[in-house]
Symmetry: C2
Subunit: 294 residues, 2 copies
DNA sequence: CTGTTTGTGTAGTAATACTAGAATTGACGG
DNA sequence: CCGTCAATTCTAGTATTACTACACAAACAG
């Protein structure tokens, strides 16, 4: 899990010398300025000398001020959302769209950085050994479960995603050790989802948890995949956690499919080609019948 | 619709002088090098003089070489996926995850840049005048429709998202001019979805289309929202178009909610607070009952 | 050809980044 | 309270790098 420049900055703020901290604070306060200004201007506004700015940069592991500015520019484009977000009542559509997209992009970046590849690898291995997959989730996480179940052709084994809580519980209570349950909840505190996880585990099934953090749900899971995102502070901030969950499922399903070997790969490729053929009403028709991938 | 640095570069390549084109080609060929190298090195590798590099930068509208490098660094972090993507059989989970996240992020960036704010504004206005909303989509786009329907509290009017094609058609064939249909299809060529759009329109309902481009489906829609993403060239490339669609829905629902005015805003805020209360089994319990947002 | 325009490089200047060593500050023991 | 030492920060200088003015060369029209 590699952390972003701003996270590193916040972490190292404590252990910094007094003047270097002044620089760090300026960077956090007005990153755009630091990004485009020359070293002399940065030094002046931080009320320190140029060599101090230099030491600050090298201290963070950069080759020099230039390299730091480049990294800052990149961190800025992914990280703005975490700083300057709030959606306002009188925002134009343009502004609104920009903010929401920014936040979505930043969230995905955060999720990527926090994703534990080893746990995903374990999940992939386990799915390869399973005979069926069940995806569990409610509301926003329910959407992720539905999406995952649609990827059955990639997973290569029967997939289901029961929608209501009773169906979910029944399926868990009747399962066996040859099945794998993927239990999704951003908060990781939803009672019924937790009960389903517990029931499935009791029956010997493997339980893979996907949650926003080390939540209570995770204690009930054999494999714990954290899809970290920014917190929804604002009431009008849309549910960005879905996106991270969906992409995690993408990674999982793609990895499983690739590991299944040549035969599965050929089958899948052929299926996609035939689907395109099947969906087209006539060879020349630009219109597809139902059952295309979209 | 503002275009990315690389798109601008590709566009202007024709109208460039011979030496400046050498620079442009080097930038496209090895952007990472150009990003960190000093002007002298760039000039040398492009086999031109430094002023030529300078003219190239100012010609593109930048203040100088530095400003260009900064922009390049930022474009690079969002645009890599479009250049160096293919998912390989023997990629580690780390690499796989990195590639898939990169592509997802790049796609969202592209969607943002292509999104037509005016059309979204028109959609918002129309929804505010409607009495009900119906979301239509199949497979990946069906997921988007389900997600959108969950946002009924934001939209403030009854929302539905019938899943099978017959239900979809029946609902369209029985609708009236007080309803709005949001018809989603990335390909914009799915026959049954198109028939539903046509039927709804015939009955006088407003039809908002969300598609990956100016597709046949769009011809049947009153309002056309394009959610542009990268094409899925590789078989194993996951369906990134979903993400763009979901975020577009986020923008739409947030905008509608904000425009509804104070009363709706208060209701919504209160609902969220009460939901958190309701979902908690006891005041101290860290576990939520069903019906939280996740 | 010759004058004009357009394009490109040379050479010089200003700016910026980086380095070495001196000065200051602060901490601690006597 | 003072001196010593270490840590920290600055001054001043050097080396790079970015930018500009101008001159030369190529392409083209008359």
């Amino acid at each position: 899990m590699q952390s972003s420049l701003f996270e590193r900055l916040a972490d190292s703020l404590e252990g910094l010398r007094r003047s270097e901290r002044k620089v760090a604070e300026l960077v956090v306060r007005d990153p755009h300025f630091v990004m485009q200004a020359p070293m002399s201007a940065v030094a002046a506004r931080a009320e320190v000398s140029e060599p101090t700015v230099m030491r600050f940069c090298t201290g963070l592991g950069f080759d020099g001020f230039q390299a730091f500015k480049l990294a800052l520019a990149q961190a800025l484009i992914l990280g703005v959302a975490s700083i300057e977000l709030p959606v306002l009542r009188d925002d134009s559509i343009e502004e609104l769209s920009s903010k929401i997209f920014d936040q979505s992009i930043s969230s995905l970046d955060k999720a990527r950085r926090f994703l534990d590849a080893d746990e995903v690898e374990r999940a992939v291995q386990r799915i390869l050994e399973s005979e069926s997959l069940v995806f569990i989730g409610l509301s926003a996480s329910g959407i992720i479960a539905q999406d995952a179940a649609q990827k059955a052709p990639l997973f290569g084994i029967p997939c289901s995603a029961p929608t209501d809580t009773h169906q979910q519980f029944m399926e868990a209570a009747m399962t066996n050790e040859r099945a794998t349950f993927v239990v999704i909840s951003h908060t990781g505190r939803t009672r019924s989802t937790m009960r389903v996880a517990a029931a499935a585990r009791e029956r010997g099934a493997t339980v893979i948890g996907i949650s926003g953090d080390n939540t209570p749900l995770m204690d009930l899971c054999d494999i714990k995949i954290i899809a970290k995102t920014f917190e929804n502070t604002d009431m009008h901030t849309p549910t960005v956690s879905r996106l991270a969950g969906l992409v995690v499922i993408d990674v999982l399903s793609t990895a499983v499919s690739l590991r299944r070997g040549d035969e599965h790969y050929r089958d899948f490729t052929r299926m996609k080609e035939r689907l395109a053929h099947f969906a087209r009403l006539s060879p020349e028709s630009p219109v597809l019948d139902d059952a295309s991938f979209d």
